[in-house]
C-alpha cells in the first residue's frame, strides 16, 4: 500500500541526490548551524568533531556559568537527543592532521575518517603579546571551557585580579570576578572603554558604569610586565606608568585571532584566517571555512574580512549548508548588527556607526542617570539618509532597524515612525518625546514631525 505513505498529491518525489559524507571540524555556533541546516535540506552523512566538548554549547554563556546563573547543561544549544535524532554524529576528539590528497581526517584518539566535503569551523584563539611573565601560573585568557575551568580553580585563592583589555571579554571577566567578591583592576590602553568601536560619549558612559560597579578602571594604561612569586604564580603586574598592582590572577583579554593552524598545515591559502571566497570555499574546492576562523577575500561593503562574532558564525553556517545541500549560495550577510552587555547596560548596534562620527552625521540623546543612550548616524546632506543606530540601555526591533537602514530612510521619516523601533518591555518609559526634542533642537527647520497623541488603545495594549 505504498501509495498511502507516498505524498502522491504533490507529484513525483524530488530526484534522489547522491548522499555524501560531510565532516565538520568545530562544534561552535558556525559548525552547529551548518550541521543543522544541512540536515534540514539534505540527507548527507554528517559528522561533527570537536575537542572541546561532547555537545555544542554556547560560548557566550561562559560568564553566566561562572557567576552561577546557570549550569553547563543549560548552555547546550539543544538537548542531547536532538543530535542523534537528526542523525548528526558528534565526535569529541582533536583533529591532528588532514590529508587533502586522500581526503582523510586524522584524529588523536579515533580512527581516521574520510570525507567528501570538509567544513572548517575551528574558531579563534586568545591573543597574547609577548609580555614578560605571560606564562606564569594564574595568567590566562577566556575562550574555552578549559579556560573557564582554570579560572574556576584559581578563583578560590584570588582576592585581587587584574584584567588587561578594554573589550567585550575584558568587561565580562571583570563582572565575573566581581560576582565572587574578587577585587578587579582593569587596564585599558585606550582613553575610554572600547573606544576603538564606541563613540566617545557612549564609551564614557560605560566608563562611569564600570566604576559604579567598584571596578578600579585604569584608562590609557598599558601592561608592561607580569611578576611572579617563588612558586611561579603571578603576584603583581607593572603598568607602563611603573605602577605595581598586586594580584593573584591576571586575565588577558586583548582580542582573538583566527585559529588557522590546522588549515595552514593542510596547505590551504591563509592570511590571518583561512582565506575563503564569496561561497566560503577555501583554496581547496572540497573544503569550506566558516565562523571565526574564516577570512573573506572580498568582504561585502560595510563588513570586515574577519568577524569573530556569534552572528557571523550563524549566517555563514546557514550559507554553507545551502551551498552543500542544494544550490551554491554566496555569503550575503546584509546589514551589520551586533549586541553586548556591559554589566547592566545592554548594547545594540545596527548598520554603520564609526567610532569617531563627525557632528554633521550624528544625532545623540543620552540620559546618564538611567544609563541610556541613542545615536542615529546618517548622511550629512539632506535628506539625511539613516546609516546606523547605536543604543545603550534601550532595546530596538531588529527587523524595523534593518528595513530603515537598508532602505536609507530620511531622518524625518525615521523620527515619524520612531515608536515602531522600540523593543523595550511593555510599560517602559517612552523615549519618543525626549528624542523628538533632541531632533528638533538639531534640525530646527526640519519638517515638524507630527506628535502622535497617546490613545486609550495604546494604553490598553501597553504601547509605548
Amino acid at each position: 500500500m505504498s501509495f498511502l505513505t507516498r505524498d502522491w498529491r504533490y507529484g513525483p518525489l524530488p530526484r534522489k541526490i547522491e548522499t555524501m559524507r560531510i565532516v565538520i571540524i568545530g562544534n561552535g555556533i558556525a559548525g552547529s548551524t551548518a550541521a543543522r541546516y544541512l540536515r534540514k535540506r539534505a540527507d548527507h552523512e554528517l559528522i561533527m568533531i570537536s575537542g572541546e566538548s561532547a555537545h555544542p554549547f554556547s560560548r557566550t554563556a561562559l560568564m553566566y556559568m561562572y557567576m552561577g546563573h546557570l549550569r553547563y547543561q543549560d548552555t547546550k544549544l539543544y538537548e542531547d537527543f536532538f543530535w542523534s535524532k537528526n542523525r548528526i554524529q558528534l565526535l569529541q576528539d582533536w583533529v591532528t592532521k588532514v590529508d587533502t590528497a586522500t581526503k582523510t581526517v586524522h584524529l588523536s584518539q579515533s580512527a581516521p575518517l574520510s570525507f567528501d566535503k570538509l567544513i572548517l569551523a575551528t574558531g579563534s584563539h586568545s591573543n597574547r603579546f609577548d609580555w614578560p611573565g605571560q606564562d606564569l601560573q594564574g595568567v590566562q585568557g577566556l575562550y574555552s571551557l578549559q579556560d573557564l575551568a582554570a579560572l574556576e580553580e584559581w578563583s578560590a585563592s584570588t582576592r585581587q585580579a587584574v584584567v588587561v583589555g578594554g573589550g567585550l571579554i575584558g568587561i565580562e571577566l571583570a563582572e565575573m570576578l566581581q560576582s565572587r567578591g574578587i577585587h578587579v583592576t582593569m587596564l585599558v590602553r585606550e582613553d575610554n572603554y572600547w573606544d576603538n568601536v564606541l563613540p566617545k560619549e557612549e564609551a564614557q558612559l560605560i566608563d562611569r558604569h564600570i566604576e559604579a560597579h567598584q571596578v578600579d578602571l585604569r584608562l590609557s594604561t598599558q601592561l608592561q610586565r607580569i611578576v611572579g612569586d617563588e612558586e611561579g604564580r603571578v603576584k603583581e603586574v607593572v603598568t607602563d606608568g611603573g605602577e605595581v598592582i598586586p594580584c593573584q590572577w591576571v586575565g588577558l583579554a586583548v582580542g582573538v585571532h583566527p585559529n588557522a593552524a590546522l588549515a595552514q598545515s593542510m596547505g590551504l591559502a591563509c592570511n590571518k584566517g583561512v582565506l575563503v571566497d564569496d561561497y566560503l570555499q577555501t583554496s581547496h574546492p572540497d573544503i569550506y571555512a566558516i565562523g571565526d576562523c574564516a577570512e573573506l577575500r572580498q568582504p561585502p561593503p560595510g563588513r570586515k574580512a574577519i568577524e569573530p562574532v556569534w552572528y557571523t558564525g550563524k549566517l555563514m553556517g546557514k550559507t554553507v549548508a545551502r551551498t552543500l545541500a542544494t544550490t551554491p549560495t554566496p555569503y550575503r550577510p546584509g546589514i551589520w548588527y551586533n549586541s553586548a552587555k556591559f554589566f547592566d547596560i545592554e548594547y545594540q548596534v545596527y548598520g554603520t556607526i564609526p567610532s569617531r562620527p563627525a557632528a554633521e552625521n550624528t544625532l545623540l540623546w543620552q540620559d546618564a542617570r538611567q544609563w541610556q543612550s541613542i545615536r542615529l548616524h546618517f548622511t550629512a546632506a539632506p535628506p539625511h539618509a539613516l546609516q546606523g543606530i547605536n543604543v545603550l540601555g534601550v532595546r530596538i526591533r531588529h527587523d524595523v532597524a534593518d528595513k530603515m537602514i537598508r532602505e536609507a530612510w530620511p531622518l524625518s521619516k525615521v523620527m515619524t515612525h520612531w515608536a515602531a523601533l522600540y523593543f523595550d518591555p511593555e510599560m517602559s518609559r517612552s523615549l519618543t518625546p525626549a528624542l523628538l526634542d533632541a531632533y528638533r533642537e538639531r534640525f530646527p527647520d526640519a519638517p515638524i514631525v507630527p506628535k502622535k497623541k497617546r490613545q486609550l488603545r495604546d494604553l490598553l495594549f501597553f504601547k509605548p
Binding site: R41, M67, G68, L70, Y311, Q348, D402, E426
Partner: protein, 458 residues
C-alpha cells in the same frame, strides 16, 4: 565553588546596615518559630499582642530593609549571582532539601492535623480577634481548630515580604513593578482582608478573584444552593464568579493572554512570583517534562469538568447514590485541592521550582492556556537574529518552557503554559524577547514535534 555553597548571601561583604536589618528579620523569624512551637498561651493579653505584633513588624520591617540593602542599592540590573552555587537554591542542594521537607511537612500538618498547630494558631489569634473579631481556637469556634486564619496570614506575609524583595530586585523594569504590585494587592485585599471581613460580617469567606475550575466547589450543588439562596453578597459572588469564568476569561485572555490572571491576579501565582522567585530556575525544561505536563494538566481539567457536570446533572436527576457523589467530591478535594495544589504545589518549591501546581495541575491554567494558544493576541516576540543561545531565558522560566529553543531559531514563542511573568525578557542579556499583544495572524503556533528538523523543508 565549594567555599560558598552554604552561604545564604553572595560572598561580597555585608554592610552594617544590612547586618542590622538581617538581625531584625531574624528576630521576626525567631518570634514566629518559638511562638509556633510553644506559644506561652498563659501570657496576659497585652504580652500576647506584643508578641504577635512584634513578630509581624520585625518580619515586614526587617525583610524590607534587608532586601533594600541587598537589591535596592547601586546600579539596577539582573542579580542572579550564585543561584546555582548556594545550597538553598541549587538543584537538590542540602538546604533546598531541608526547606522542601519543612514546607511539605507544614502543609501536611496544616491539612490533616491542625491541632498540632495549636501554638501557631494561638500566636496569631490576638491579631485576628483585634482586626476582624475572628478566632481559630477551639474555645471560640465551637470545638475545632481553624488553621486557615494563621495560614492566610503567613501566606500574605510571604507575598508581602518577598514581594518587596521582588520589587527591589527588578526595580529597573516597570512591567515587573506593576505586575508585582498587582499580585500583592490581590493577595492582601482580595484574599486576606476582604474574605476575613466578609466572614466576620456574615459567616462566609468569599474570594472574588477565584472562580471555577480553580475554585472548583463554587459549582458543586451544595455551594450553588447556599450561595444562590444566601445573602445579597453571596448571590452577587455566585454570578460574578460565573461571569468571570465564562465570558470574562475568554475576553481578557484574548486581549492580554493568560497572564492577566496567572501572574497578575491569582493567589497561587502571587506566591510563586514572590516567595517562589528564588526557586524559579529549578523547573524542568526537558521535552519529557513538557510531555508529562500536557497529560497531567489536561487530565485534571477533564476530571473536574466531568465531575462538576456529573454532580450538577445528578442534582437534577439523581442517578448516583448519594455516597458516590460525596465520595467523588471529597476525593477530588483531597487529591487535587489538598495534596496537589497545597502540599506538592508549595512544598516542592525548593525542589521543582515555584510553579509545580500551575504547570502540571491547575485546571484554570489549562483553560487559559488553550485560549492563549489558539485564541489570543498574546505572544513573546523574538527580536530578529539577536539571540546568542546563552540559555538564561529557559533557565529562569518558572513554567519550564525552553524559550531558547524558539529564540535561537528566530521564532516567536506561543505556548499554552506561558504565564507572562516576563522574566525571560528581563534576564535576556541581548534584549531578544518581548511580551506583547498583536494581530493573531502573525504569531506562529509551534507544536510538540519540535525537535524533528524536517527534511527538504523549503
Amino acid at each position: 565553588m565549594a567555599d560558598h555553597t552554604l552561604s545564604l548571601t553572595p560572598p561580597s561583604d555585608m554592610s552594617a546596615a544590612q547586618r542590622i536589618s538581617l538581625g531584625v528579620l531574624g528576630l521576626g523569624v525567631l518570634l514566629l518559630l518559638v511562638g509556633s512551637l510553644a506559644h506561652p498561651v498563659a501570657l496576659p493579653g497585652l504580652w500576647a499582642h506584643l508578641w504577635a505584633y512584634g513578630m509581624l513588624l520585625s518580619l515586614i520591617g526587617g525583610g524590607a530593609a534587608y532586601y533594600y540593602y541587598r537589591f535596592g542599592q547601586g546600579p539596577a540590573g539582573i542579580r542572579n549571582d550564585g543561584n546555582f552555587h548556594r545550597s538553598a537554591t541549587q538543584p537538590w542542594g542540602a538546604m533546598a532539601w531541608i526547606l522542601g521537607l519543612v514546607f511539605t511537612g507544614f502543609y501536611i500538618i496544616l491539612y490533616w492535623w491542625p491541632e498540632y498547630l495549636h501554638s501557631l494558631i494561638a500566636l496569631v489569634d490576638p491579631l485576628f480577634q483585634h482586626w476582624f473579631g475572628r478566632s481559630g481556637l477551639p474555645e471560640n469556634t465551637g470545638g475545632y481548630y481553624n488553621p486557615w486564619l494563621a495560614y492566610g496570614l503567613l501566606y500574605s506575609l510571604a507575598v508581602l515580604v518577598m514581594g518587596i524583595r521582588f520589587l527591589y530586585k527588578y526595580r529597573h523594569i516597570r512591567y515587573q513593578q506593576v505586575r508585582t504590585l498587582s499580585v500583592m494587592f490581590f493577595q492582601l485585599v482580595f484574599a486576606f482582608v476582604l474574605p476575613n471581613f466578609l466572614a466576620a460580617l456574615n459567616g462566609q469567606e468569599l474570594y472574588f478573584h477565584y472562580f471555577w475550575p480553580l475554585d472548583y466547589d463554587v459549582l458543586f450543588p451544595s455551594s450553588v444552593a447556599t450561595l444562590t439562596q444566601g445573602p445579597a453578597v453571596a448571590q452577587f459572588f455566585f454570578w460574578w464568579a460565573l461571569i468571570l469564568a465564562v465570558p470574562g476569561t475568554v475576553v481578557l485572555t484574548y486581549f492580554f493572554g493568560k497572564r492577566w490572571y496567572c501572574s497578575w491576579v491569582c493567589g497561587c501565582g502571587g506566591l510563586a512570583e514572590t516567595a517562589g522567585d528564588p526557586f524559579r530556575h529549578l523547573s524542568d525544561k526537558s521535552l519529557r517534562a513538557w510531555q508529562i505536563e500536557r497529560y497531567l494538566i489536561h487530565g485534571v481539567l477533564l476530571v473536574i469538568t466531568v465531575l462538576t457536570v456529573g454532580l450538577l446533572v445528578n442534582w437534577q436527576w439523581s442517578f448516583l447514590p448519594q455516597q458516590w457523589a460525596e465520595g467523588a467530591q471529597q476525593g477530588y478535594g483531597f487529591l487535587i485541592g489538598s495534596v496537589f495544589a497545597g502540599v506538592v504545589g508549595v512544598g516542592f518549591y525548593p525542589l521543582f521550582g515555584s510553579r509545580v501546581w500551575c504547570r502540571f495541575g491547575c485546571p484554570q491554567a489549562a483553560i487559559l492556556g488553550i485560549l492563549q494558544k489558539y485564541f489570543s493576541r498574546f505572544r513573546i516576540t523574538t527580536n530578529g537574529g539577536q539571540c546568542i543561545s546563552c540559555g538564561n531565558c529557559s533557565t529562569y522560566c518558572e513554567m519550564g518552557i525552553d524559550v531558547k529553543w524558539y529564540a535561537q531559531r528566530e521564532q516567536n514563542i506561543v505556548r499554552a503554559s506561558c504565564v507572562g511573568c516576563g522574566i525571560c525578557s528581563a534576564v535576556c542579556p541581548r534584549g531578544v524577547l518581548k511580551l506583547e499583544s498583536g494581530p493573531t495572524t502573525h504569531k506562529t503556533v509551534i507544536h510538540i514535534d519540535r525537535d524533528e528538523v524536517k527534511l527538504l523543508e523549503p
